[in-house]
Amino acid sequence: MNKILLIIQREYLTRVRKRSFLLTTILVPLVIIGFYAAIIAVAVSDTSDQETIAVIDEANLFDGGFESDNKESVTYDLIKNETAPSFKKKYHDKGYSALLYIPPININEPKNIQLHSKSAVSLNVKNKIEDEVDKAIERKRLSNENIDPQKYESINSNVTIENTLDSSDGEKKSVEGVAYAVAFAAGILIYMILLIYGSMVMRGVMEEKTNRISEVVISSVKPFQLMMGKIIGIGAVGITQFIIWIILIGLLQFTIPLLFPTLAGQIPQTGPTGVPMSTDSNMIVKITEGLQSIPVGLLLFCFLFYFLGGYLMYASLFAAIGSVSEDQQEAQQLVFPVMMPIILGFVMLTKAIQDPNSGLALFGSLFPLTSPIVMLGRIPFGVPWSELLLSMALLILFFLFCTWLAGRIYRTGILMYGKKGSWKEMMKWAFKRS
């Protein structure tokens, strides 16, 4: 037991001290945040440009002024005493980015409204202008029908329907979007962990084999100890890296408002275009509610459980492959059957979050080779206890089987040189009597 700790310690320390580890650990959050910042920067720059639109209103739509005030990114100037054909030549020189020409129109059938500009206006701006005109026409129609706008406002209905999940521990509100995002993130995280750290284990085993160090070490410890020490050591490296990433991303997030001081005031406005502020804060409440509807404790527990189970299961298979391959190419050929279920699991995940209770999702979340990825995608939507427990039991059983199998392949493979490994050969080693 003491020796396994020593091996874990070595595997962990040599990797953590590497320059490449330090680099990826720091760079990945920077890249993610940088990307995030870039997206925001683009969004901000789009709205920070003040655009003033000249309006020639021959239909007198805007007698009552404009709805948007000067604080908005798009402002309007009503041009009087000018005709459209003549002003069309001048608006650009006068500093207007576009000319909105509203000919005399039938209020019930508005058409031929035109927007002239030198270059295409952004979709955002176009939406705003359309909104503005829509509102003006609405106002006109209301007054034509003699309807009090305030009365209309009170009649106007805008419902949102909430989906409530009935479960044993009371009712919870569900917000599909939030569950969807969390499920997808958790599944992808496990998928990445399996691929990245699984192949790291494989490379580590191959390195020991090609360096011929394994025979020296195996004369001191059992092959199984060496294999498990490596798997656990690298798993610990993975956990360390993820924790650092999460902390760094968390901290760096605070720098974003500093980078874009104007952002704080603008985000609520740029969000859903033209939607009044009240619905906006509603959204935030809804997201928080959505997060609350997800069983966070259960999700965290399951994430840890499926991370450990999935990682240990796949890492031992990767280790077995590493033990029979002497070069990268050989490993590449053998590794395909192990990669397949991981990729399959990912495909199933994308289906499972769209329809968490389908037969495919059920199968994927029970089958041990895909369950670490697929089950995590289902949990935010609620999974019956019986299915969850069955899936976990199957994973534990299969994990034990895999390590047993891998241990037997490993102990023969690691000392075998000059012989090309094949799956047939590996199975022979695994099941031979000894």
Partner: protein, 310 residues
């Protein structure tokens, strides 16, 4: 006292009998040579003694007790033929790590590694990586890691390959020194001149079986061909005798093979009676190399795969 006793050890692979009923003993403080052509089963035999493989049959006794791979690894130091070290790991750390795997405490391991590094003039290597070392340097490091935990039984597979004469002597002296301190050394090689020089006792393996077992002097006696070198002041014109046959001339003398039933003194008397001055008279014993080749020759050089009926 016997440190190692191997009785009827067998290991069969699917296609061949790698080790087929081998028995031998190693005395404490002796240097024991394990010889054999490539593919004779030496490495498999050594892997069973070091607990890497389990034998199919037979027993291994270490210090008179049944060999237990888990407990006894601390009493054995094994340097495999294929040298292996972690390339990216610092040398000092690596030596300490390997010693700790053998069960040494960290402080003891550190102290001993430092002692050995000073002894071998390797102090300045401490923070270097193995990939920066030459082949000979890493060979020295490998030797240090093998003997660091003061094992009672040291197994060296081709310890001098890749070493220059100076470093080979350094290691050779260390082997003598360790043997004098009571360690037993099993020395696997096919470099016969080294065996002749170093080993007290040898066994020769071929095709998984033991074909020779004995002390070096003893084996040479066993395979002597009654060859003598007779140094003569002048070569007589006609020599013919029932006593011996002249095989050739050598260093101003004759190489003679004494016929069966006669003694060296008879030959000496013959020359004295011929009134020729004898300047030298000495027996020529076969070298281990000759014996090795004689015993192994005739069997095919590379081992064929046998079919087993089991």
């Amino acid at each position: 006292m016997k440190i190692l006793e191997v009785n009827h050890l067998k290991k069969y692979y699917a296609t061949q009998k790698a080790v087929d009923d081998i028995s031998f003993t190693v005395e404490q403080g002796s240097i024991f040579g394990l010889l054999g052509p490539n593919g004779a089963g030496k490495t498999t035999l050594l892997r069973m003694i070091t607990g890497i493989f389990f034998p199919d049959d037979g027993e291994i006794l270490l210090n008179g007790k049944r060999f237990d791979p888990v407990d006894d690894v601390t009493r054995i130091g094994y340097m495999p033929e294929e040298r292996g070290l972690y390339k990216k790991m610092k040398i000092g750390e690596q030596a300490i790590y390997l010693a700790r795997l053998k069960g040494l405490r960290k402080e003891d391991a550190t102290r001993k590694v430092k002692e050995w590094f000073i002894k071998f003039g390797m102090e300045s290597w401490w923070n270097k990586k193995v990939e920066d070392l030459s082949k000979g340097m890493s060979q020295k490091l490998q030797f240090v890691t093998t003997v660091l935990h003061e094992p009672k039984l040291i197994i060296l597979d081709e310890p001098f390959s890749g070493l220059d004469p100076v470093n080979a002597n350094l290691i050779k002296d260390e082997i003598y020194h360790l043997a004098k301190k009571g360690c037993s050394i099993i020395f696997s090689t096919h470099r016969m001149e080294q065996v002749e020089e170093i080993c007290d006792h040898i066994i020769l393996m071929n095709k998984g079986q033991k074909i020779l077992d004995g002390g070096v002097a003893e084996v040479k006696q066993q395979f002597k061909e009654n060859l003598f070198h007779v140094g003569l002041e002048e070569t007589p014109q006609h020599i013919s005798s029932a006593l011996f046959e002249v095989i050739g001339q050598q260093n101003g003398g004759l190489l003679v093979k004494i016929n069966e039933g006669y003694k060296p003194n008879d030959v000496l008397r013959f020359f004295i009676e011929q009134d020729v001055n004898v300047t030298a008279f000495n027996e020529i014993l076969p070298s281990l190399n000759d014996i090795f080749i004689r015993l192994v020759e005739g069997t095919s050089v590379s081992r064929q795969f046998q079919t087993l009926n089991s």
